[in-house]
């Protein structure tokens, strides 16, 4: 789902309540495939404020805002409030609760994660629980792709080809142009996306030989760069990735159909 660097960042970070809420909003906004602008429009809020909520830079949101976000993201109340506790005795937020089993649904673990565990803004969960959570959302057509790919008998998606140097250089230049067009410094962009200024610099100068598609998409989203040269640059890679996923899905569907036919005979 994401690179190791990102997970390390999540683990080491000392989260405030607002940041946790923001991370949950970002997480489910991406699952719903919405941009900040689209979500802000749905709940009648300015994109700036939404962005501040997502980064946890405003005072904790009011009940109405929470409910509006829940409605717009089509999630449950619990989803956005996950991973938040208050320990009455010490009057402290954000402590792991005294009895972990009291918290329904989410598995909480120490920072030494056993193999097979993944870190998400909504908590620490086992691979099994992660799959379960996605299966529960099966009815939603947008999530079918992810679910099919999680099946145990699913063939591996073909690995991405390494991009050539010319593409890397052009992408870096397009990113720099877009960023400067938006009047942001590298640090400014890094604050808005899950990466560091040093990594952005590496991409812009073409020193990173194979920047991941996801990070490029994040940067594009953070810069609100739909329709820009940068978006056009990463579009073919995205299309290639989609085609690879589609191929696996078609293969699965074909196999299912064949098995169904075999059972019938």
């Amino acid at each position: 789902m994401s690179g190791l660097g990102q997970e390390d960042k999540w683990v080491e970070k000392d989260w405030t309540l607002g940041e946790r809420f923001g991370a949950n909003v970002v997480w489910f906004r991406r699952e719903a495939g919405l941009t900040q602008t689209q979500l802000a429009e749905r709940i009648g809020m300015s994109r700036t404020i939404l962005s501040r909520i997502e980064h946890g830079r405003v005072f904790p949101p009011r009940l109405e805002t929470i409910l509006k976000l829940v409605a717009a993201l089509e999630v449950k109340n619990c989803d956005l409030l996950a991973w938040m506790w208050w320990e009455p005795a010490s009057h402290r937020h954000y402590e792991t609760p005294p009895s972990i089993t009291d918290i329904s649904g989410y598995e909480v673990r120490d920072f030494h994660l056993p193999a097979g565990f993944r870190v998400s803004p909504v908590g620490y969960e086992s691979e099994e629980r992660f799959k379960d959570r996605l299966r529960q959302r099966r009815e939603e057509p947008g999530h079918r792709t992810v679910l099919e790919l999680l099946r145990d008998d699913a063939p591996k998606v073909a690995p991405r080809k390494r991009p050539d140097a010319a593409w890397v250089l052009l992408t870096g230049q397009a990113l720099q142009a877009l960023r400067e067009g938006r009047g942001l410094t590298r640090q400014g962009l890094a604050d808005r996306s899950p990466t560091t200024a040093a990594f952005i610099e590496a991409i812009e100068e073409g020193r990173c030989s194979d920047p991941g598609l996801r990070i490029l998409e994040e940067l594009c989203c953070a810069l609100n760069g739909e329709g820009s040269a940068f978006a056009a640059q990463i579009e073919p890679v995205r299309a290639e990735r989609k085609a690879a996923v589609r191929k696996v899905l078609d293969e699965l569907a074909e196999r299912d159909a064949r098995q169904a036919g075999g059972d019938g005979k």
């Binding site: 309540l17 607002g18 809420f21 429009e41 749905r42 709940i43 009648g44 005072f59 904790p60 949101p61 009011r62 009940l63 109405e64 929470i66 409910l67 509006k68 829940v70 409605a71 717009a72 449950k76 109340n77 619990c78 409030l81 996950a82 938040m84 506790w85 208050w86 320990e87 009455p88 009057h91 937020h93 609760p97 009291d102 918290i103 329904s104």
Partner: protein, 90 residues
């Protein structure tokens, strides 16, 4: 047709207050004890239970911790009805 915003907010606050009251009753705490455990003032607990105040996220999490429930238990049965975008465009 979605209800007006103010009415929805008032309704949400009222339901939230009832949920707090129920959970507090189940834990067997007084308003004062709940307020102490949550680190907020007793009058605020009283206002919230009466639905006269719309709580913020930090208050929700504090109250939930104080009465020993998951924060989303306090939001049970509360939902927001978004007005459809077509209506706004008109």
């Amino acid at each position: 047709m979605a209800r007006p915003k103010e009415a929805q907010a008032a309704e949400a606050a009222r339901r939230f207050g009832i949920n707090v009251l129920e959970c507090r009753g189940r834990a067997g705490f007084s308003q004062q004890k709940t307020a102490d455990r949550a680190g907020i003032h007793r009058t605020e607990v009283s206002l919230i239970e009466g639905g006269k105040r719309v709580p913020r996220l930090d208050t929700i999490v504090k109250l939930a911790g104080a009465v020993g429930v998951d924060p989303c238990a306090l939001l049970e049965g509360i939902a927001w009805e978004l007005s459809p975008p077509t209506e706004e465009a008109k």
